[in-house]
């Protein structure tokens, strides 16, 4: 695909129309890379920023939604409880794309319950975890994703095994699970596009190094470790429906295609091994192997494009609920007469 970075896209917007305010995170923070890729992905997908709504919890990661999509509504909620906020808001207008940004402190501790229940309901939304293994805003405490044996200044050595967000998602019956690395922006961007097209909760666990508190070269959430140990499952490309002709560019036998709910296609080019992201057993196995072998496995770990979403259960009107006229919301006086008659 062409680099559309500075082009006017199909809906007449330039990349800068997708920007937000200037980041106040530390220079070099992985989160800034992810914000940049959100901007690029939305621009390249020709998404209308007024049809996207952003949410976040509490922590460094959760500050980032002000740094992208300045023309979108957003709500910065409570620690670990962005999923419930996003879920309630999503019903306001189910035609909008929902994008949530969380961190490992936000998702893997207080947020674990809401994270799992969001997944279980399969609300159509992108749920990004900017995962750095450390609490940044409170200056360097262990998070629940910190590896066993990690040593941090003032904190000593972490004695506990970590929570693996991708595994939690998978076991929680997530319909879309990906892991990526902020040091691999192209992969982040392509995964984001696939996630934005998926009709369900898309979990993106992105290792996003904290340059201030947890970036020693030998630690699991650092840039250097990530670069040395990244083991992509495949080379991922996102192809929107209208560019179907591009599909021909990929050699048969070397790729696996997954068609998403909106007709877009994710093309996964084979690297060292065959990997089928629609096979949950294989997905669980690869995560376990990765942990045992110190690989940073990245790519689309699991996807089930056909799992019903929360909206499918609720028989909602086509018209966005928040635009329904007041007079349609109040049943007639005759219906109340009947209720009164039934209650004697």
């Amino acid at each position: 695909m062409t680099d559309a970075r500075n082009d006017v896209n199909q809906i007449g917007l330039t990349r800068s129309d997708y920007r937000g305010e200037r980041s106040t995170l530390c220079p070099g923070c992985g989160h800034n890379t992810i914000s940049a890729q959100i901007i690029s992905a939305c621009h390249e997908m020709d998404l209308d920023p007024t049809k996207i709504v952003k949410f976040s919890g509490i922590g460094c990661s959760s500050k980032s939604p002000t740094y992208f999509l300045g023309q979108s509504f957003g709500f910065n909620g409570l620690h670990g409880r962005m999923p419930s906020l996003a879920l309630g808001a999503a019903f306001g207008d189910t035609t909008m794309k929902v994008l949530g940004v969380s961190g490992d402190g936000d998702t893997a501790s207080i947020g674990l319950g809401q994270f799992k229940h969001l997944i279980r309901r399969n609300l159509p939304m992108v749920y990004i975890v900017e995962n750095n293994g450390v609490y940044g805003l409170t200056k360097g405490q262990f998070s629940a994703t910190a590896e066993k044996g990690l040593e941090l200044k003032h904190q000593g050595k972490n004695p506990f095994l970590p929570i693996d967000i991708a595994k939690e998602a998978l076991i929680g019956n997530a319909s879309f699970v990906a892991r990526s690395f902020a040091g691999d922006p192209k992969q982040v961007r392509e995964l984001l596009k696939a996630a934005l097209s998926h009709n369900g909760t898309s979990v993106l666990d992105i290792i996003s190094p904290c340059v201030s508190f947890n970036n020693r070269e030998d630690t699991l959430h650092s840039y250097q470790w990530g670069r040395q140990h990244q083991a992509p499952l495949h080379d991922i490309s996102y192809v929107p429906t209208r560019n179907a002709i591009i599909l021909d560019e990929f050699e048969e036998g070397e790729t696996k295609e997954v068609t998403l709910h909106d007709g877009s296609v994710v093309i996964l080019k084979k690297l060292e091994h065959d990997y089928d992201p629609t096979d949950k057993w294989q997905a669980l196995k690869i995560l376990e192997e990765a942990e045992n072998n110190n690989w940073l496995v990245t790519g689309l770990i699991y996807v089930d494009p056909d799992q019903p979403s929360l909206y499918d259960y609720l028989n909602l009107t086509e018209e966005p609920l928040n635009r329904i006229e007041a007079d349609k919301l109040r049943p007639s006086a005759e219906t109340l007469d009947r209720i009164n008659q039934s209650m004697v």
Binding site: G74, R81, G92, R323, K328
Partner: protein
Amino acid sequence: MKKDFEPDQANSRQKADKVNDFCMTVCSVNGSGSATANSTLLRSLFHMGIPVSGKNIFPSNIKGLPTWFSIRVSKDGYLARVAHDDIIVQMNPMTFEKDLDYDVPGGVVFYADHIDMPIHREDVVAYPMAVKDLIKEANVPRDLRDYMENMIYVGVVSQMLGIDLDVLHDVLLRQFHKKQTVAESNFEIVKLAADWAKDNLEKKDQYRVETMPPLDDYIMTDGNTAGALGAIYGGFQFCGWYPITPASSLAESLVTFAPRLRKDPETGKNNFAIVQAEDELASIGMAVGAGWAGLRSMTASSGPGISLMTEYMSLAYYSEVPLVLWDVQRVGPSTGLPTRTAQGDLTLNYFLGHGDTNHLILIPSSVSECFDFGWQAFDLAEEFQTPVIVLSDLDLGMNLWMTEKFEYPDQPINRGKTLWEEDLDKITKDWGRYVDLDGDGVPYRTVMGNRHERAPYFARGTGHDEFGNYSEDPDVWRRILDRLKLKFENARERLPKPAVRKFEGAKIGLIAMGSTEHAVIEAQDKLLQVGISTDFMRIRALPFSIEVEEFVRGHDRNYVLELNRDGQLHQILTLDYCDMTHRLISLSYIDGLPMTAGYVIESVVEKEREYHD
């Protein structure tokens, strides 16, 4: 209860025959299926035109523990609990002895004759009921026997008190939703038991019922059903909820009624969504999200759930998100008494949240007012862009009450200051989400999906300026908090005014809120009979309006009656009217049961004696 049932002085002096004026308690084992039997008795009395109320005093248990159902019959229309029973229907050997102590001298006990226990009261009339024999005689299938035993007491009691069996038959048909065979098989047992009583029991007591003029303006239901219906007629669009006693049936009533009432007539699709959340942290989060997105949003819970909701309510207050939160109060602190009633969450709710937080509170006293506040709460929440808490309680929410028919809303739905694309086009001023354009403390809001280029903003619980931008500026913080206070102050006169019931020359004020109204009105009448004239003000909303202040100032002594230990309504009154603390006297207590008129009378008389000594 309104003036329709002014006490009939002549009748109440007749001691010989007690007609339409007694309390009957059915004592049974939880899970034995007595609810249908009790409701049949209650509704039959109601259909005979006799004012009646029912209170289920039940354990936090599914099966096996004792449970009591009290039916108060009052020709004068008094619906409050009374502390003693005139008639006991005893089906539970476990509580046989103790329950008997609650019977008044000259009272009655009907008991299942297989309960082989001595009756230690000689001043009561005892009627055995041949429950097991009659069930055997009727050839009831084994799996229905325990349940049908309850219909035996329905028959015996009806015969002995004079409940019209034709009316009872109609009620059974209604209760079983016209499933005729089920209704008939129940009625068969009732009839069998009534005939048995006619042949075998000799009437020795004074209690009986007589048909009164029909109660045409009244219905019979509970406050949680009413609250849900109110919400449906108020245009609710989203409810996130989590089960908790005694609030579950409010959300469950939405689940029952909304699909029938709120489908789009053209497409047959729902214009609402209800989601059972994983806990109260999530149910309030969902409600805040939906309220922010422009939906009429609500949740319902009780004390422990409200505690969990605190942080999101603080965010909703500060980020100015409208939503409606029902607190159907049970007894706290802690898990407390989950199946008993209280008014102990007032201060919790009024200040719910950290930092400076205040919430608007509506307090219904009757089932029909639960309906009214059910829809009004949405208008107020959206008018003031803030949460509105409706403070109900277990007694009101879960018990069956006779109540005035639901009245169709007399005001159109008010969505408050919400701007859509065409509205923003017209606004030439420098609009921002938190700019106070009108100087009344209430800004104009936009909601997601509004595609106007000026519409979007980033909502947050962190410090923000008038345009929603992050700010740690001391002046900005102070300015925004002061505006929120202005908004709160301006709400005082827009909320429901207190209801005042006056007697001539009264220098004593009685102040109460919520479902204790019924005990206070009854006490007011009875206090007058012993020469104590009182005025009664029922608080219907917080913060208080000017009328509340005037009432307090207009009385030498105001007794504040409420069901909590610390006198929470009294606390808030003394906070607001610190110059009048000498006029405000707390008469609060909590034991888990609804307030009685007896308590009000005794405690007021005692305090008055102190003042006159």
